[in-house]
Amino acid sequence: MESTYIVIPAQNESSTINGVVTKAKKFGSVIVVDDGSKDNTGSAASDATVLTHITNLGKGAALRTGCDFAIKKGATKIVVIDADTQHNPQDIPRFLQTLKNHDVVLGYRKRSKSMPSVLRFGNGVINTMTKILYGIDVKDTQCGFRAFTATAYKKIRWDATNYSMESEMIANIGRHKLSFGEVPIETVYADRYKGTTIIDGIKIVLNLMWWRIKR
């Protein structure tokens, strides 16, 4: 029997998490990983299974905890989505539809002026590096809205605890020659100071090179 789990990593998202959970639960069981929040993110996530990291470990670690737990609960499909309303849970059915023909589905943000220019530049650099190093042409390597099958998860499971996990996942897709589809999504940038920083971007590029050597 098909069992879809939606995993949402969250840190200090008490104002938005409930809205995301309410919309997402229509499409599967929701797991929120409260990654050491200082506010009441965990208790605000009503109608979800909340896993609590007693201290902040990073997005990669939070997602891994959530996905491992989903697998333990018998998930056959996993969707990962951000907690800050940047992604619209209403897009989940399109991901699941595309997942019928692929191992992994990657969301990509449409180019718009609302995307901060530093993010647009950094994303371009990382996308190009991914193409050169792994031969994979991905429209948006840093988009956190993704879906994959349980079988694929075992192959793409990442070690990175930070924002490098998105790139590591793509590197693992290339390594295991998994098939992937891409789905365009609308993105709202609610907070310009959250998410990947320039330092994260540099770390991601260095990691991409290291994973290529290690391959």
């Binding site: 639960k25 109608d47 979800a48 909340v50 470990l57 670690a61 491992d68 737990f69």
Partner: protein
């Protein structure tokens, strides 16, 4: 024995203070007897060569170094780099341990509301 230089007095005070500090932590049972022995031997050796740098003359001569001070600086840098690397390994190990514990606690105690 020649009159002590300012740097030797400074080094002497440093060595003595570090030996006392090590002793204090041993008495507070924060380090084991083995760790205490290692550090106390290290500080007393440091004290001895600070006050009597001539002890190192054979080593300095063998290594073709101009001054005992150069030997101290090289040795100090080597010790520092080694300690930094050791600390780095320790931090990484503890980071991994912490990650495993936090993830295990989270998965063992889900707060299920549905």
């Amino acid at each position: 024995m020649a009159a002590l230089l300012g740097i030797q007095i400074l080094g002497g005070f440093f060595g003595a203070f570090m030996a006392y500090y090590t002793f204090l932590h041993y008495k507070r049972k924060e380090i084991t007897l083995k760790e205490y022995s290692f550090w106390i031997v290290l500080w007393f050796t440091f004290l001895a060569v600070t006050i009597m740098p001539r002890l190192l003359d054979p080593v300095v001569k063998t290594l073709n170094l101009a001054r005992t001070m150069d030997f101290f600086i090289i040795l100090g840098f080597m010790f520092l780099i080694g300690t930094i690397f050791y600390t780095y390994l320790l931090v990484r190990k503890n980071q991994k341990r912490l990650e495993n514990i936090v993830r295990k606690v989270a998965m063992d105690k889900p707060n299920k509301k549905q």
